[in-house]
Subunit: 124 residues, 2 copies
Amino acid sequence: MMVNHAVDIAEKFSLFSEPWSPKVVATLNDYEIKLVRIKGEFVWHTHDDTDELFLVTDGTLTIQLRDGDVTLGPGQLFVVPRGVEHCPIADGEVQAMLIEPAGVRNTGSAGGARTAARDDSLLG
Amino acid sequence: MMVNHAVDIAEKFSLFSEPWSPKVVATLNDYEIKLVRIKGEFVWHTHDDTDELFLVTDGTLTIQLRDGDVTLGPGQLFVVPRGVEHCPIADGEVQAMLIEPAGVRNTGSAGGARTAARDDSLLG
């Protein structure tokens, strides 16, 4: 029998240290709840078919957008609308939760070296 | 032009005080991000067609399930699987974020007095 238990975000973050490597920690229908460490600048990219939610739990994240930046601290969230080009950047290190449908490529249409494979080693 | 800005969870909670009245603060595709104050016991209910995510931001929430309770503190989340009967309960007051598809009735198949209308007065 599955034992029901909470997902502790800080405890999950203690289990990995590499940036730009989102870890699936829960699923919600066909969506995935992922935790990611962000450090430095990502790549400009777009998800044509889906919105993407960022919720910061530690640090300060800037989501660069072509029409202005959004800055997020702990307890603040932003949904990047589908089709909107964006590029996350962090001066220090940021811990953030991402929510989007399963199967979305982290680098969107840009691809490249920072494209991450799905990692559900911390699921459950 | 829409100005891009973060949703500050604590600031949104400062704008309402009534329990059991979820407020939509953001949308993610056809899902809604809602904030809710929980105080006392809800009603046992089931969502047959969808999972439901609870993320606690303040206080301690117990999600009663027929096969065991799950207790959530700040920074902890739990996804109630579709079809699983559950009943949230809080000794003190809890602030929590809920994520589920738009149009889901808060009391599920149980209905009754605590059924809340959709409230997007804090959206954006």
